[in-house]
Symmetry: C2
Subunit: 342 residues, 2 copies
DNA sequence: ATGAAAGCGCTAACAT
DNA sequence: ATGTTAGCGCTTTCAT
């Protein structure tokens, strides 16, 4: 029963060698005779030796584990990011420890503690929507644990991060709507303390400005970007004396909410009102009409974030100054915004 | 810089106590004077002491970490399961290490090694679609690491698992379609070596049988359950001399594929052909018509799986015989299958 | 090329 | 109630 696992010292005893020799043989040290190396490896196989990472980690002070904190894992975006994270991390020999903050600041603080205690070698974070300060990251800094943010970061804080050019995403979306002939373009925006929503909004504003469309305050509605929020916001817009002829939503969910309202009111999409969303959720190509959206290259973002983090982990000595990587978004025009369908 | 972390022995030295005393004070041991306990905690706070879990794990032989292997994390189901897993695990003081097998057998084997090396206290697995044997789990058994499967398990192997009553899900779906007046009900089925698809199919067969509907081989199409597969399968069915009047798909994705074909051919859903899927993906309530589906209580499944696993972890001594927990599915009738809409 | 020995930070058995 | 001590399995310096 209970098969005790073979250790280096077991192998050493069996072969009449010193543990240090066995350790070196196993880790491919150069100053070990070919003969010894072979004997050791053979017995290791036989005994089905598995290295005890915990012990190695304790000794070396590194755990070969990366911690990741995401607001939530349901939904397209973070799931795909995790795919990229995992792929790159595993290839580099690192494990991944996952925490969800549930969009909650307090929870995020706990997550940080958890990861510090687990002795992770580096931390990847995308902020909870309710996070507005940086206190809990001070601990991480103090311990000199490499830290990389992705997607959602706090405005005005100088940290390493991998982000999407949300400004471009917003700009292109609005430009596309303008190209279709829309002139009164509304915007569903998210919490403005988060870079992503702020930048999408900024892109919207700039695109209007560049095309000499006057900005109308009434056409911008802020909310929490859920489907229900989209319903609420759309109804609010339709109650205006003069309704918009397009909506650029900073989220696919609220865009779909708007879509439901429009369909229910028998307004034609895109002819009466065109619609575009953000994130290219799975369902974006399954709605009717299919929803125009912005792809965020999620997997790539995850991969890039890990690569950046590993660089920092491996060159811990040199205090590198914070680096930012900006990925370009890709507009995917679909039926909800295109007047002429191919 | 590089803030060295305070250790128990640091605290002990500072307070002129033995490390064991400090350790006990910190872990709430009963035989420690209130005064000492307070002094220790106070200094611990001051020094911002964080326990070194690695060391504790090495010493105790337990890492307080659970490993989870999922086929993939994108898509509704596993993402929600992970939510449940994480919630329960964290509450019980365990961390979660996540691996994705990418639906690949080889990858799954690697994942197992990874988790064993990481010294996890227990492993949760949902099998890759390409996994057909059990060899790689023998190592886990030999090491006596508690192992719990969820959702996807191998047929005919006696293991602890948390599964959905897929048979019921299939049965109810078909019964519902029959209740709507459908008589020629087709089925899109998945790989039959996986319990979930086999049972959904079995439920389909039994429901037909119970209602005296003859089984027709041509109405059953097996595939890989993707959207494209649904398109292919639907076209295949429409080429039959006599077409079906309903399809029960074992996946929402292939159901949506079918939906696209039907819409394109101007067949009315549900009037010409009714549709029902499985898994209640996010998009199921966003298609037009909204897709009837079966909810799997994903979060609950994740939670139940962890609870079962933790039981095994905590009572490791007593070799419990494998336990199965079966959750009941919930049919969600929507427009794609209902003749009379409320 | 190999060995001896120290120690990572913690817990727990065994004192007192 | 507190102290002493051994050791979890590994890596690494210093010898030889």
């Amino acid at each position: 029963m209970a098969a005790k696992r073979a250790s280096i010292s077991d192998i050493a005893k069996e072969l009449n060698l010193a543990v240090s020799t066995v350790s070196r043989a196993l880790s491919g040290h150069s100053r070990i005779s070919e003969a010894t190396r072979k004997r050791v490896w053979k017995l290791a196989e036989q005994l089905n030796y598995q290295p005890n990472h915990l012990a190695a980690a304790l000794r070396k002070g590194r755990s070969n584990t990366l911690g990741v904190i995401v607001p939530h894992i349901d939904g397209h975006f973070f799931a795909l990011v995790m795919k990229g994270v995992e792929a790159v991390a595993n290839k580099a020999g690192y494990n991944v420890m996952l925490c969800q903050s549930n969009e909650d600041y307090e929870h995020e603080q706990k997550n940080i503690e958890t990861l510090i205690n687990a002795q992770v070698d580096g931390i990847l974070v995308s902020l909870a929507r309710t996070t507005r300060d940086f206190k809990h990251f001070e601990k991480v800094r103090k311990r000199d644990i490499p830290l990389v943010f992705f997607d959602r970061i706090l405005e005005g804080v100088d940290v390493s991060a991998v982000v999407l050019d949300d400004y471009q995403g917003g700009y292109q979306s609005v430009k596309h709507l303008l190209d279709q002939g829309c002139r009164r373009i509304a915007h569903f925006g998210g919490p403005q303390h988060l870079n992503i929503y702020k930048n999408r909004y900024a892109g919207y504003c700039q695109a209007l400005h560049d095309h000499n469309i006057p900005f109308e305050k009434d056409l911008v509605v802020f909310g929490d970007m859920t489907l229900e929020d989209g319903i609420r916001s759309m109804n609010q817009l339709l109650a205006l004396p003069q309704r918009p002829d397009a909506v650029f939503s900073a989220s696919d969910f609220s865009a779909v909410g708007a879509m439901q309202v429009l369909k229910q009111r028998k307004l034609r999409i895109p002819y009466d009102i065109a619609l575009s969303g953000f994130s290219n959720e799975t369902f974006a190509s399954l709605t009717e009409p299919m929803l125009t959206s912005v792809d965020q290259h999620c997997e790539e973002m995850g991969g890039a974030a890990v690569r950046l983090l590993l660089e920092m982990v491996q060159e811990r000595t040199k205090q590198l100054s914070p680096r930012k990587i900006v990925l370009q978004p890709q507009l995917l025009p679909r039926e909800s915004s295109r007047w002429r369908q191919e």
